[in-house]
């Protein structure tokens, strides 16, 4: 038996620009949109695109991610043949190595991919919020008779120099690749999502591995090598919602955009494109007599007695009477006690914000906390603060 296309999700990065949020967990396992984790998006996209064989390359803090993925049942990926597999680096007869780069992570899993004898392999990123039909992408790849295709988004010209850009001709064939250039010749930014013919990918991975000077990276090595060999390379235009949530600011922003699907285009209520997630099994949420909830997402298990405005609350969050939550992302199990004001910030799982504490501010950078910390009574966590540890009563953190 063989599979037409196998998906490989790169989920090994540390996510260092998420600071305290990724101290003890991998970025793809970070909560998003109330009841999801970032990785739910690429996995659900696979399932919705009829891809039933998914490898997830992990290496940084994989415990939570492993447990979360489990046997893949929530995504309907507990399959007899195929399904979802978590792929950490492993020891081999001739030594062992961490994943040295994005390309090396795939190289080290050639044996996994070969088990399914695929014609195509799609490389996905575990840190993007996006609803994308990979079946449509594959259709494009086949129609162009491509050996390599990359999903691209049009970005504003003035921002183009921040991205890896694909310069194309009028058939969408790629003629040049510019990595964060000063003078962009194109505004088609790579989304880091690639479809390869498997035989081509395998050949280039092996050659890349043999090159001692390579960084083993798709953007820096594999794609330039394909270009210089004049392979059949095409750019597939995507115009839906896409967000790299690699920073605290962009993660917060993406959560806020979920609150406004009419304008942002990130609609979690799309019956034709369900995003699946593992269910925490909590009862329906309670909006108490004193609750005031406006323009927010509230998940099962929450108990709200205070004020919640323009915020996203994950499962089991408690907001006590007299507490105020504004423009905030509160992850599961966190308790906001009476008199506390929580504003423009991300508070990770299982934190306690004690009475009259203040987290975040109406303006400035987004403050955030690590999971499981306590913000003491009347403490103040200022805008942009990164809270790694407990904050003592009355303490100020900038």
């Amino acid at each position: 038996m063989s599979k037409e296309m196998v998906a490989m999700i790169l989920a090994g990065g540390q996510g260092s620009r998420l600071y305290a949020l990724t101290q003890k967990t991998a970025k793809p396992a970070v909560s998003f949109g109330g009841k999801y984790r970032i990785i739910d998006f690429p996995i659900s996209n696979c399932v919705n695109s009829n891809i039933d064989t998914v490898g997830i390359c992990t290496q940084y803090q994989p415990l939570q991610l492993n447990e979360y993925i489990g046997n893949g049942q929530p995504w309907d990926l507990d399959r007899l043949y195929g399904g979802v597999h978590v792929l950490p680096p492993y020891q081999k007869a001739n030594g062992s190595d961490w994943y040295k780069g994005t390309a090396n992570a795939i190289y080290q899993n050639i044996a996994f991919i070969e088990r399914y004898k695929p014609e195509y392999v799609i490389i996905l990123s575990g840190d993007q919020i996006c609803k994308q039909d990979y079946a449509d992408f594959l259709q494009f790849h086949k129609e162009k008779n491509a050996e390599f295709s990359v999903a691209v988004m049009e970005v504003p010209w003035e921002e183009a120099s921040r991205f890896g850009l694909m310069v194309t001709d009028d058939t969408d064939a790629i003629t040049e690749f510019q990595e964060k250039p000063k003078n962009p010749k194109s505004n088609l930014a790579s989304m880091g999502i690639y479809i390869f013919n498997w035989d081509i990918l395998k050949k280039y991975l092996e050659e890349d591995e043999a090159d001692p000077n390579s960084e083993n990276d798709f953007g820096n090595n594999i794609i330039p090598n394909l270009l210089s060999d004049k392979r059949r390379m095409y750019a597939y235009r995507f115009d839906g919602y896409w967000k790299d949530v690699g920073t605290i600011g962009s993660l917060w922003e993406a959560n806020m955009e979920v609150l406004d699907p009419e304008h942002s285009g990130m609609n979690l209520f799309d019956e034709n494109w369900t995003i699946y997630s593992r269910n925490p099994g909590l009862p329906a949420h309670m909006a108490g007599k004193k609750s005031c909830i406006d323009n927010s997402l509230i998940t099962n298990g929450c108990e709200i007695n205070g004020t919640v405005k323009h915020s996203v609350l994950s499962a089991g969050v408690v907001v006590e009477e007299g507490a105020v939550v504004l423009d905030a992302v509160i992850m599961s199990g966190t308790v906001i006690k009476s008199g506390a004001v929580v504003q423009r910030c991300i508070i990770a799982d299982n934190c306690v914000v004690e009475e009259n504490a203040a987290v975040g501010a109406a303006e400035g950078e987004i403050a955030h906390t690590a999971a499981g910390v306590t913000i003491g009574r009347s403490a103040a966590v200022k805008a942009g603060a990164k809270v790694y540890d407990d904050v003592k009563e009355g303490e100020e953190v900038c």
């Binding site: 949109g33 009862p283 329906a284 949420h285 309670m286 323009n295 927010s296 998940t299 099962n300």
Partner: protein, 378 residues
């Protein structure tokens, strides 16, 4: 652990259709056990979860009729950890065979249909129960008590007023000072607190098997009336008092009241004990979205709802939409009910997929909630 001891192994038997006749509206197209409750559950979830949380992993459901929605809900039983190699979930619809040609009338007849199955099981004990109550019972404690007491049969009861709806469907227990049951009354109508039987029984599997054989020889159908009552002098039947939270569904009114009661105090914490989770079928709903202008107070709201209007003192099941200007007060709205723009509803129980169209006004009263049947449009 107690339940890993080989002598403490227990299998479960659930009768999902008992007392169907008390809530004809809600069971028009489902079994009692499949009645939706508390925003995202069905009654069966509470019994199955209580059993699996006590380590009971071999559970048979003896369905009688209208079991499609129940089967759809349960699937392989995976969500309750009952998709198992050994035991697991065993749904037994009525089966016409040589000896049983009509649908059974009583518990003993139903049990007769699984006699050979029962004989082939290995568990020492059987926990046998109906499914008209939402509760989160620590069955480990019951199992322990049954083993300690040396009872032939342990019957669980609560001390409670007999609900109006249950006047024609209840058993009450009289016990001596040692807790041994001396009398079982049927259809007790007395006011005041009684020892109200919860129809949860524990006994050895071998004893149940011999009761089934006995009843079949004598043409007896009913467990309480014909197996227990005439034999109380020789059978050591003991009462086990349960003081935990019980929501007993005895009629439409009590269905409404019991949902509403979850809004009071810490009732929800009692029913949803964090150490004993209640499992249910997942639906992959998104979190509930409160749109700008939503006004919600004192309500229990499951995932997947979109709220633009006003909701007070209500229970909203999964996927309910309350549109702009709509007002929902003192209602129980089952899954995927839509209350359109400027509609105004009060003291309403809607079944699944009901549509209250724009601008409509509909109201019952606190003693008489109005019921709208599944998939109807008002």
């Amino acid at each position: 652990m107690l339940t890993t001891h080989k002598d403490a192994s227990v299998m479960g038997i659930i009768f999902p259709n008992t007392y169907d006749n008390l809530v004809p509206q809600l069971v028009a197209e489902r079994a009692m056990a499949a009645i939706p409750f508390a925003g995202r559950y069905r009654l069966i979830d509470f019994m199955l979860s209580s059993m699996t949380n006590a380590g009971i992993g071999n559970i048979s459901l003896l369905t009688r009729k209208n079991y499609h929605s129940l089967m759809e809900h349960l699937g392989s039983g995976r969500e309750w950890d009952l998709a198992r190699k050994h035991g697991g979930l065993n749904i037994v619809p009525p089966f016409a065979e040589r000896t049983v040609t009509k649908i059974y009338a009583g518990r003993m007849e139903a049990l007769a249909s699984i006699l050979r199955f029962l004989e082939a099981q290995k568990e020492k004990y059987v926990l046998m129960t109906d499914c008209f109550q939402a509760l989160n019972m620590d069955f480990k404690a019951l199992i322990h008590e049954h083993m300690e007491s040396g009872a032939d049969v342990t019957a669980v009861y609560q001390v409670a007023d007999i609900p109006d709806g249950a006047k024609n469907g209840n058993y009450t227990l009289n016990m001596d000072e040692t807790g041994r049951v001396t009398e079982i009354l049927n259809n007790d109508y007395r006011t005041g607190k009684q020892n109200l039987c919860m129809n949860i029984y524990m006994m050895e599997r071998e004893r149940l098997i011999s009761m089934i054989k006995e009843s079949s020889v004598r043409g007896q159908r009913f467990f309480e009336r014909e197996m227990l009552v005439p034999n109380l002098h020789i059978l050591n039947v003991r009462g086990y008092r349960y003081d935990g939270y019980v929501a007993r569904i005895a009629d439409l009114k009590s269905f409404y009241d019991e949902n509403m009661r979850l809004l009071q105090d810490d009732n929800i914490d009692q029913l949803f004990d964090k150490n004993r989770p209640i499992y249910t079928k997942t639906r992959d709903d998104n979190p509930t979205r409160y749109v700008e202008g939503a006004k919600v107070s004192n309500s229990m709201i499951a995932d997947g709802c979109i709220i633009q209007g006003t909701v007070e003192n209500s229970i909203l099941f999964r996927g309910v939409h309350v549109e702009k200007g709509a007002v929902v007060r003192n209602c129980v709205l089952m899954q995927d009910t839509v209350v359109e723009v400027n509609a105004n509803v009060e003291y309403l129980v809607t079944d699944k997929d009901v549509l209250i169209s724009a601008g409509k006004k509909l109201s019952g009263s606190d003693t008489f909630p109005v019921y709208v049947a599944e998939a109807h449009t008002v």
